[in-house]
Symmetry: D2
Subunit: 95 residues, 4 copies
Amino acid sequence: MKKKRHKTTHEENLDRLSRLEGQIRGVRRMVEEGAYCIDIITQIQAVRSALGAVGLRILHKHMDHCVADALRSRSAKEAEVKIRELMDVLKRQSS
Amino acid sequence: MKKKRHKTTHEENLDRLSRLEGQIRGVRRMVEEGAYCIDIITQIQAVRSALGAVGLRILHKHMDHCVADALRSRSAKEAEVKIRELMDVLKRQSS
Amino acid sequence: MKKKRHKTTHEENLDRLSRLEGQIRGVRRMVEEGAYCIDIITQIQAVRSALGAVGLRILHKHMDHCVADALRSRSAKEAEVKIRELMDVLKRQSS
Amino acid sequence: MKKKRHKTTHEENLDRLSRLEGQIRGVRRMVEEGAYCIDIITQIQAVRSALGAVGLRILHKHMDHCVADALRSRSAKEAEVKIRELMDVLKRQSS
């Protein structure tokens, strides 16, 4: 029996993005076919929420790598640049 | 000279959704090619924000129609159902 | 035996806002006393979320009244103004 | 002439939180006095947005300290705990 190969975060993100592409296509079809507005909006909210989840996963991976790099390099200057980048992302998120 | 035809909200929404589909494909390509995480996240935020804008346009159209219908039918019961639907959408949005 | 008086939405909102005032005071005390940043942020998120819930309750009441008025007056013009106001609120919310 | 003392982030946050307490009191007064719903909601949105800004400032300070500590201690284990805490905050934020 073949064991199911463990998916990396990278592959999982690609799968999720493919699925999201299909979901947007689905939303377009709903608009084309004159689906009920509230149903379209509900579907749009689901896509946005799934996109946000992919974003958070990428952010998590990014922070893991950043901190690993910072620990290796011990460069306070580089760490500061990374924090500023991160804060810019978070400001846009919550504005 | 041919005058550019005025686009309806409906057509504009379809165009925007097609573009968003392409943008998600772009995000996937960024992930595949190992683009910088912060750039990927920034792009994801742009897509989410554009999706939110399409959602608001559809919501606006929906409210225009609902109110027109309510004014025509003068049915308080029907209006109540519509308001409850709308509040459910808004609760999900802000939670 | 005295029956507990049923609270109106109005009174409940006032109670919630008094409580939120106290919670903000609590956040300030946490900052003063040098509480752990993550705990302060978690508390701030709770206050924001509770504030959002009060906002939604007021919005719900507003829509009930608006629609009732629209049904009474049958004024499409007035309804349009109300919808525009509402959309401005929702745009700020989701931006 | 006395020079205005430079305010620390800590003092500024306390000032902002005091002001926010006053603003919530203002919202309560608006509700008491039967102000127009849309005006109340607009004011609530302003308070939420200002609260979010205080949260981001505290988060920024927190990250500066965390990274400084991580650089000092070079403890990958400790860094991991901090990242998990941070991700929990961000997940709640964007959910």
